[in-house]
Structure formats: C-alpha cells, structure tokens
Symmetry: C2
Subunit: 344 residues, 2 copies
Amino acid sequence: MSENQTEISSLGEFGLIRELTKSVELKNASSLKGVGDDAAVLDYSGKKTLVTTDLLLEGIHFDLTYVPLKHLGYKAAVVNFSDIYAMNGKPEQITVSVGISKRFTIEHIQELYEGIKLACEVYGVDLVGGDTSASVTGLIISITCIGSADESQIVYRNGAKETDLICVSGDLGAAYMGLQLLERERVASAGMKDFQPDFKGKEYILERQLKPEARKDIVQKLAENGILPTAMMDVSDGLSSELMHICSQSKTGCRIYEERIPIDYQTAVMASELNMNLVTAALNGGEDYELLFTIPLSMHEKIQQMEGIRIIGHMTKPDLGCALITRDGAEMELKAQGWNAFKA
Amino acid sequence: MSENQTEISSLGEFGLIRELTKSVELKNASSLKGVGDDAAVLDYSGKKTLVTTDLLLEGIHFDLTYVPLKHLGYKAAVVNFSDIYAMNGKPEQITVSVGISKRFTIEHIQELYEGIKLACEVYGVDLVGGDTSASVTGLIISITCIGSADESQIVYRNGAKETDLICVSGDLGAAYMGLQLLERERVASAGMKDFQPDFKGKEYILERQLKPEARKDIVQKLAENGILPTAMMDVSDGLSSELMHICSQSKTGCRIYEERIPIDYQTAVMASELNMNLVTAALNGGEDYELLFTIPLSMHEKIQQMEGIRIIGHMTKPDLGCALITRDGAEMELKAQGWNAFKA
C-alpha cells in the first residue's frame, strides 16, 4: 500500500459510508430523505416514477489498467441516466452499491465517488442511498436510477408505426473504437516501463469510451420543438441490437441506410488503422449512449432543422424484416451482434 | 456440467432475461410497466416513494456449500422488503441484478429466481426490472426495492424521545446460531462422502438463517392498534448496532435489560453446545430481520397486549450513553460489534 492510502478496514462499513457521503447534498424537490435510514424517501406525486439499474463488474465491463476510477464512477452513473432519458424522463436520484476487494483503499473508492458525484452534479441528480461491502475479488458497482416523467410524455420501445422515420443523435462507433485504441496501447505497453501511450488526434474516441455523456440535451430539444418520439432507446449494446428491439416490440420492420449513419472522422481513421470494418463498428460497437428514436413522417421538416440529429431510415411493415441498405444499394439483414457478457 | 443443465452462453443476455421473467406478472396498481424497456414505470402519486438496495456477494454474504439457491433468492428479496417495513412502508417493486460466473447454469439461475419470485408472491411485490451479466468469479446479487408510504406514517431512525420504550419483535440470535450450526456441519463434512448433517431439533434456527421472513405482520398489527413508532429499524447487523444507530440519530441514550431480550430455546441450546455466550449472540448476531422500534410511554398498555412484541428497555438522556443491564444488575456499555464485511 502506497503512502497516503488508507485501508478500508480502518473505517469499517459505516465509517466508509459516512466518508463517501459527507458532502452529499440533496437538491431535487423529490428527494425528501437520502442516505442514513433503512430507505430513501422520495416524492413522486403527480408524476410517474421511472426505475432502471445497471451492474458493472471489473474484468467484464471495465479494465482498471486503463480506466481511471473517477471516469469509471462518472460513466457508471451516466449510463443509468441515459436509460431514464431514453424513456423521455428526467433522472432524479441514484443509489450506489459497491463491492470492494482488499486491493482498494479508501482513497480509491473516494476517487470512484468523485466521478459519481460529478455526474450527479452535471445532470442534477441526487445520491440518496446504497450499500457497501467487501468483495472476494474485483470491484463491483451496482447503480439504480430513479426518474420522473409525465405519463403522457413517456416513450416506450413499442410505439413505432410502420411509416415512422428512424433518427439517431450524435455519432456512432466512437466509443467502440476508443476501446480498441486503449486495448492496442495496453498490449503495446505490456512489460515496458515508462510507456507513453499514443493518443494524439484520438482524443474524441477516447473520451467517448472513458467519459460518455447522456443526451439530456436531445431530450430537452425534442420537447422544445414539440416532438414526442413514438419509440426510443439509448444505444448501449449497438445500433443493430437496439433497432431490432424497437422493431420487435413495435411489430415493424425497418430500413436504414449506410450512407446516413453518422460517424466521426476519428472513428473512421481508427477503424482504418486497425483494418476494421467501419460500418460494423457503428452498427454493433455499443456504448455510444446516443438516443435512437422514431418519429411520425409528419415531423420530417421539424427534425431536419434540429442540429445533432440524423434521420437514418424508416420503419416498414414487419414482414420486410430489418435491413441495412449499403452504399451500393445492396440489402443486408441486420443482426444483433451487440455486446454480450455471456459470450462462450 | 451435469445432465439437464444448460450453459448460459447458449441463451445470451436477452434470452436469459426472457427465460427468467417470462412468468412474471405485475399485480400492484403502482406497477405500470415492468421488465422490457429502458426503465420500469411506476405510479406513486399521492404516496411517498421509498427506495432501498442491498448487495449480496458469494464468499462474503453467503456460502453455496450450504445455502440452496432458492433459499438464497428468497432471502435476498426478503432482506430488502425488511428495510421498507422498517420505514413503516409497503414494499411494492424490486429490480434484480445478477452477476453470474461460468460455473452456474441456466437451471441454477432459475432456481435463484424461483426463490425471488416466491418471496415476491408471499409479500405482494412486483419484479419490474434488473440487469444480468457474466462475472469473473462467484455469484453477485444486487436488489433494489421500491415501496410506498403515507408521509405521515413514515418512521425514521431519528424520532425517538428520551422517555420512549424500546420494543423488539420475535426473538434474536437465532439466525446467527443457525449460521454457526451450518458452519459446524460444513467443517465436520469436509472430505467425507455421503455425510448426513445433524439438524434434528434445530429446524428453527436453521430456517431463521436460510429463509428469514420480514415482519410485514408486525407493521400491520401496529397500524391496526393505532401505534405509530417514533423510530424504527430492522435488525440486520445486530441489536446493539441498530440500537446505537437509533440513539445516535435521535440524540438519546438507552438502557436495555438482559432478562427482557427475547431468545428462542433452540438458540440457547445451540449456544450452550458451542460454548458461546448467548447474550453476545442475541446482541450482535445479526440477520434476525426483526423490527426494533421505540414508542411513547403512553402506549405501554397497548403494546403489552400485542403478541410477538417485547419491551426490552427505554430511551434515556444522551449523556447516559447506551447500556445493557445484566441479570445481576451490572451496567455494560453497548458496543456495535455487529457484522462488518470490511473486517481486517
């Protein structure tokens, strides 16, 4: 253990919780009581309550050799906010449970919480509870996010109609290519001392992987422009996988166009350097946390005037299936090759 | 892998979720939308929302050599319900996240969920979401429970007054002695084939450890008798630890009486067999999931007429500290020696 590092056993569970939550202030009117009792108390009268949860495991979802703990905390919170935005809601509270193995000190866990608290501050969310425990090996993070929405404004996955337009915010594949970059530098650094990773000109894809943002801005803009999507999801597993979820739940097919898929030039450069197929990365890469949604055809002009949103295709009758139209006009069936933690 | 066992990789995450949740029906009016979207949708208009969460880790909180998966699922759900009852609320929904290592099959996880679903049925709670993931090692269970309460009925830890009576439901120390019994038989069985553990006459303490219940009945009875506790907690870490939480948050001291602490005879027999101090087991054992609460002195007669509740002492001014009065009249300072996952 290095200097200025404190063993967690010196504080115990209650001491650790006090340490981690001493600067937590509740800001949302819906947060009546936070950390410190058997349960948090929230006020959701007049609104509907949204609940989502994500489990992040070391060695499965993240690798601490290249992910700073503060970034990890930020990301762990943001991916939960993203699920609430994907319902067209507003994230209001989170609970954070962490399992911590012996190799982590209090300072490590404080760093993780710094990231979580920063995300809460940026997105206006209150940290209201959680659980801490020792773990046998590795770091375990389980976050539950509670949000609010007016019932009439909630957007599910099953509301898309056969003639709707398919839209996506931002660009796709960057987080995945950022991961490939980190992986390349990790392999290159193996066994070397004072290795300097080469990230020049690749800052964007790196940030997309390490510190993703949830599209609160898109949800707000859609509301300001009077556009209520008919179906919506956030892109966490990959565009193909999410689109197929919406189609299957809405009982539609879809056509999306390769040339319409938004891709940043850093993503393209990285794919080319690594000899990887760019479209595959954009379709199946995952972790973009962009919003994928459908809108009625009548909203066509309105949506075209909004920055940062691209129409990538349209829904169809269900018997036409789900397909990508390539640049040369060929039809390629979409497959959910998104991220799968249970891969054999 | 034995016969009739299916590798989880054969289903993938979405297949596994479908398999585990296919029989889930929503029964509570507050559950508008469950599994299958980015977030669950709940209706808590007119009531306050309670949220609690617990992380259970293999090798830390449970040992699968003697805990059946179905019991583990039941217990994992019930300990969360217990936290909601401890706020004088009604548990209504849970989300369940599981991390699963390669040695578990689909049948194993189904068994775990059988227990979770049974607990939900018994307590009238809906399973509305969650997350599943592979884990590097061991089984990880993270459950969040959402419940409801009228604002005026919520009982916090900080409401106890200096003259209040201290009450506890059921009996204490049994779950801890059940754990000692299981541990003794595990050690005895080491390396032996066809070992038959000796549980005769110890069924009660075994059940208290393996399949605890939350005291929904006590919460209902208190309401029926018009008794609103001034402070309440569930006994998960141990009576001493919980009582000291209430005293510190309520800014009081307390006196409890050894002869008043409710202990089942099986607990006493087991402690004697193992040469362990019975009072220590009852004070610090934990996992009893009984309700510890304080009531105004004026409720004295009412509470005495209620079955299954014992007055064990009274609150005092804070400067008197927290103490146990032993059978021979000595005063022993209470110490929070309850369960600590971070023990060095």
